[in-house]
Subunit: 282 residues, 2 copies
Amino acid sequence: MTLTEELKSPLGLIAGNGSFPLEFVESAQRRGLSVVAVAHTGETDAEIERYVDQCTWVKVGELGKIIKTFKKAGVKQAFFAGGIKRIKLFGGVRLDLKGLSVLSKVRSVKDDAILRGIADEIEQNGIRVLSASILLENSVPSEGLLTSRALTAEEREDALVAWDAARAIGALDIGQSVVACEGIVTAVEAVEGTDAAIRRGAELAKNAGVVVKLCKPHQDLRFDLPAVGTKTIEVMAECGVTALVIEAGKSLILNRQAFVEKANNAKIAVLAAESKKYLLNQ
Amino acid sequence: MTLTEELKSPLGLIAGNGSFPLEFVESAQRRGLSVVAVAHTGETDAEIERYVDQCTWVKVGELGKIIKTFKKAGVKQAFFAGGIKRIKLFGGVRLDLKGLSVLSKVRSVKDDAILRGIADEIEQNGIRVLSASILLENSVPSEGLLTSRALTAEEREDALVAWDAARAIGALDIGQSVVACEGIVTAVEAVEGTDAAIRRGAELAKNAGVVVKLCKPHQDLRFDLPAVGTKTIEVMAECGVTALVIEAGKSLILNRQAFVEKANNAKIAVLAAESKKYLLNQ
């Protein structure tokens, strides 16, 4: 049975921010599958309305409304695509009754715990939650160099320092990205986002550095994988960060072709590594 | 033998930034000990010249000049006080021959490795390097609450989250401070400094949070201990961070009396804890 046969149309899409939800819809439609999207006010790109069969807007936390929308449309399989800024937890969240009951059961406010609580609740309503990456094979890089330029020896040294730090902060669910320069960690991402961390780290190192963005070691792969895109390359080029290492098999590259082109034009090296050892041997 | 008898005047002071070098000089003079200071251009408060018997200005990295100054003055015991911004490693460092030879032997550019290399070199010239905190007993807090207000249950929860993160980043020599709010780490300090990390974390949490500043687990206590002072409290008060946890026995409080007064006025809770367990039982 092919992937497309296994998937039961319409697919339910829980859309967050960025271009990942749009790529998901495009990929589904290329396979002849229709999509029922639930978009988040203040997060999801409004463009999505033009591409999906049905789009319902919710506020972050309106879980009951998501489940009702999917059930009414006959959705049997749902997917998370695109992040919800964690910062919203500090305001702008409107929990409906279902959202409230799920969050009150969640024992940790860490991202994964919340998402797992939401996924569990959706599954209890007869809808399976799957990894969006299964539709986006080409967006998930396998191990190897993505750009024409490889990392220099110095960049690799800095990437190794950043790798260790990124693993440690991922294990504590603090963030995904670390910037390093000349053997020193210059920025650690918490809730400010990757672009802000890259800018800060580069500025402190006087426009230099490399960035490593990794998946959390215990990440549920159905949720928001670490994503990079053309915007990431633009930010790096602007502030002098010259190399990017992402995790093979556990990262998403949005608009991959444009991403690689932009990196090559900016002479930025991008490597997907499954392990520190692979990075070491580059 | 009292401490003062053990110390051989003049004491050598390798002065970094902040008010810690001045407090060191004041404390030494109160005990009748004279101080020969080596101050760092662009780092050390020029006020120091007014208080010490002898002050020589060096650029960061001029280790040979430091040793020469101390030997000429008959210094037998030297102390580091005040940090040197790591950021300077990315520019503005002028290594003299001795500095170059030490740094070329250091296998890591991490703070402690560099400082240990420098201390070893100084000791090889017959000058013992001691912990400045032995002169500043009152500045090193023992376990307990320092302010009239204790941490609330919510602040304690956030402090526990920040504690774990601070331990992890300390172990990797990334930084000392972490800000948390509502169970989420909102900022991790790398080279930007504690004040900048506090501001960022608080802003992302819409003016809230607690900060934990810990010593690195393997820190050589002769070097730059995590320091807090009235400026820390001012920054916290300005941006809505309500509680501070520092490490008992391994932190410096600069201008302690003013620090505690300012914290009480701002209704900020400050706790010195030796362990997570102590924090938990508060």
